[in-house]
């Protein structure tokens, strides 16, 4: 496996694991308070919809000319990556509240209880919330799987990394029987932001006609540089926040 393929697999695994943790919280909340069978039906329907999206769009993307694919996909990955990075940096610096799975679980459960009486048999509320939760959290992952996979002409590897991440989170969730509140989500989101931004910048520039010094090996400098820049920004902002609060 090449370095780029390892980067692809790690990026997809982390992005998928983060989104799966958030989807698990929603499914647990409606499953526990409403109906497990209806919630799991919603999960199944959303997974099917995501699989159809990946299966339908995968071949279409891989048939594009490589330069067009790289500039479009690179640009989109960079836009996504910069958003992930910005949020992770703000959370790391204490300027944005960290994602709290327990709090989200309690809010979702409270809303589910307030949504009216449970229907015997099929519960439409549990189905809809689980379906929407998994589909919305999964769409971005589906996009990452497609774009990373198409660029490397290895959608199968990207899909396998995503599947492994979902399996890991589901097994951990089943073992814990609770939201996975101890998963270091912000650190994982920072890592995903770094990888998406690095690959997006690399592929986008190549697609636009630029040549990186050293070719693919340039990624070995690009990824650590983006990570260092992000950590330095967190450190600088944290110091600014501390000095502002101590005055």
């Amino acid at each position: 496996m090449s370095g780029t393929e390892i980067g692809l697999a790690v990026s997809v695994f982390l992005a998928c694991a983060v989104e799966a943790v958030e989807a698990l919280t929603i499914v647990l909340a409606v499953g526990t308070t409403r109906s497990w069978s209806s919630a799991m039906s919603g999960v199944g329907a959303a997974t099917l919809a995501l699989a159809v999206i990946v299966t339908a769009l995968g071949p279409a993307l891989t048939s594009l000319p490589i330069d067009v694919l790289r500039v479009v996909v690179g640009g989109l990955l960079l836009i996504f990556g910069l958003q992930w990075l910005r949020k992770a940096i703000l959370r790391g610096a204490g300027l944005k509240a960290k994602h709290d799975e327990l709090e989200t679980y309690q809010q979702e459960a409270e809303t589910a209880r307030a949504a009216g009486a449970r229907h015997p048999g099929f519960d439409g509320y549990a189905f809809t919330i689980a379906f929407k939760g998994v589909l919305l959290e999964g769409l971005e992952v589906a996009f990452i799987v497609l774009t990373f996979g198409a660029n490397q002409h290895d959608v199968g590897l990207a899909a396998a990394a995503a599947g492994l991440a979902v399996l890991t989170v589901v097994v951990a969730g089943a073992a814990a029987r609770a939201p996975l509140a101890r998963v270091p989500e912000n650190m994982m989101k920072l890592a995903v932001g770094v990888m998406l931004s690095s690959f997006g910048m690399f592929w986008g520039a190549e697609g636009a006609g630029a040549h990186w010094p050293g070719g693919d090996a340039a990624l070995l400098a690009v990824i650590p540089s983006v990570l260092l820049a992000a950590l330095a920004t967190i450190w600088t902002l944290r110091r600014a926040v501390m000095s502002a609060t101590s005055v």
Binding site: I79, L82, R86, I89, G204, A205, A208, G209, H211
Partner: protein, 67 residues
Amino acid sequence: MSRAQAFLLAVWEFVVGDDWRTALGVALALALTAIIAGAGVSAWWVMPIAVIVLLALSIRRAARRGT
């Protein structure tokens, strides 16, 4: 809002996200890279500089908004 409008809005929010200026900046940086590379000059350095500037501006806007 019609279904078509709702769909377009969802696509916009999915692709562009909550900071359209960053998305526009990425598009402009890619265009500048293409122009410079098309002129036969080394252009790989454009995107790293663009990323640093766009990220810094995006963080500054978010911090000022208090989010």
